[in-house]
């Protein structure tokens, strides 16, 4: 078995003295693991860092085998990412979220979104908002997408301000007013391209976090990624400092 694909490094684990186990999000083969022989070498270590894009050749005798990767760096972002707290927490958050997807299951839209976000992770103005959008996309990919197209109560498509925690559907400001304490805030940047504040991003994380916890993390008995909490704290602190 052999294929060649491009992928983004999600994580690396040492395997024995000289090799590493590489976890890639590939364009056509989904999240895929494989052995990299000599992965701890000074030549390969800078390439095998989370956030980097690589061209990977995967070989195995049988499809069910772990197999071995041969990798070549395409776009090395790690050096930029590790200088920024938001980017460092961001790439770990994204990796943890992508581990919710089954292995070897292609998700091309998710891959392309990840590549786009990885390019902007060190931009403090948009990185966190992009991750919130990514979480919405991931919820939809996992079959728990939110319906933000119209108000669940009135059918209105304007002034959508809340999301019902019960149905995951948008609610307009007018219809949601009596129950606003029980509804989740829907920040405008999730509906259209517009500016956003740190409070909007925090509200976005609260919204996606609620549904991720209810539909994905809690049923699977796993905790929310620590990096996500650190990312939210960093974004919130930045807003307070500003």
């Amino acid at each position: 078995m052999e294929w060649t694909d491009e992928g983004i490094v999600l994580g690396v684990r040492r395997h024995g003295e000289a090799h590493t186990l590489l976890e890639l999000m590939t364009a056509k083969h989904g999240r895929h693991l494989g052995l990299v022989r000599g992965g701890i070498s000074s030549k390969l270590r800078p390439i095998l860092q989370p956030g980097n894009s690589v061209r990977a050749v995967w070989r195995a005798r049988l499809d069910a085998h772990l197999g071995a990767f041969t990798v070549e760096g395409m776009q090395l972002r790690a050096e930029r990412l590790m200088l920024s707290a938001i980017a460092s927490y961001g790439i770990h958050t994204l990796a943890a979220l992508l581990r919710l997807l089954p292995e070897r299951d292609p998700h091309q839209d998710i891959y392309h979104a990840l590549a786009e976000i990885a390019d902007h992770l060190d931009d403090p103005d948009c990185a966190a908002a992009l991750i919130v959008r990514f979480e919405l996309m991931l919820l939809a990919e996992l079959g728990f997408g939110l319906d933000l197209s119209e108000c669940a109560g009135t059918g209105a498509t304007e002034d959508l301000t809340y999301v019902s925690p019960k149905t995951g559907r948008a609610v307009s400001r007018e219809a949601g007013e009596p129950w606003k304490d029980q509804l989740l805030r829907l920040p405008a940047f999730l509906l259209r391209d517009c500016g956003h504040s740190a409070a909007d991003v925090a509200a976005g994380f609260k919204l996606t976090g609620f549904f991720l916890a209810r539909h994905v993390f809690e049923p699977r008995g796993i905790a929310m990624p620590e990096a996500r909490a650190a990312l939210i704290a960093t974004v919130t602190r930045g807003a307070i400092a500003a």
Binding site: E17, E23, P46, Q49, M82, S88, Y89, I91
Partner: protein, 201 residues
């Protein structure tokens, strides 16, 4: 089936030696044979040294270093600058810095870096000890001497966040061209970091 060439004691010695880093079954067999040949002047003192070390080794309750005394030799050294605390990932990194002889301060050993793939979160690291050591002490600077990897630097950011309220100065190691490094052989990331961190000459 492979037939044993030596008694179970020697076979067990070979198997245990093969577990050491850098040794495979073949080199373990060579090492065992060497020990057997030099029973009196090498094997016996080695066995005694291993037994002695096994009995006395402990983890330093202050910094997490490995030593035969607690607090460890580094923590107990009165000539070290108590205002500088160098945070390292593991004991090997501490030994590497000590080999270079450039650190005048004290150390704090984390025991790893944050790594979700390895299942290492903040609870698995010696993080709470740093806060305890910095708060109400004479430490003025914390140097984060962690690996220049995404995992290492994420841990560095996490520690910086933890120390934010203490007001202590937090620094990290520089990135760039290693001594003896040729630009042609460096990866793009290192070159980019080196250009970004260039200094007046």
């Amino acid at each position: 089936m492979r037939r044993a060439v030596a008694g179970p004691e020697i076979e067990r010695l070979i198997q245990l030696l093969a577990r050491l880093p850098g040794l495979g079954p073949r080199s373990a067999r060579r090492a065992a044979l060497h020990l057997v040949k030099r029973r009196e002047d090498l094997m016996e003192p080695l066995a005694a040294a291993i037994a002695d070390a096994h009995e006395k080794i402990s983890i330093c309750s202050v910094c997490g270093n490995v030593d035969t005394r607690d607090p460890c030799t580094v923590c107990a050294d009165p000539s070290r600058d108590p205002s500088i605390l160098v945070v390292v990932e593991n004991v090997a990194d501490l030994w590497a810095l000590e080999r270079a002889g450039v650190v005048t301060g004290k150390y704090h050993v984390l025991g790893g870096t944050l790594s979700p793939l390895d299942g290492i979160g903040p609870e698995q690291l010696n993080l709470s000890g740093i806060i305890g050591r910095v708060k109400g002490s004479s430490i003025k600077e914390v140097v984060l001497a962690l690996n220049a990897t995404v995992d290492g630097q994420t841990t560095a950011h996490y520690i910086t966040d933890l120390l934010r309220e203490t007001g202590v100065k937090v620094t990290r190691l520089a990135y760039g061209v290693p001594v003896g490094g040729e630009l042609d052989y460096l990866d793009e990331g290192t070159l980019s970091a080196a250009i970004r961190s260039r200094t007046p000459f």
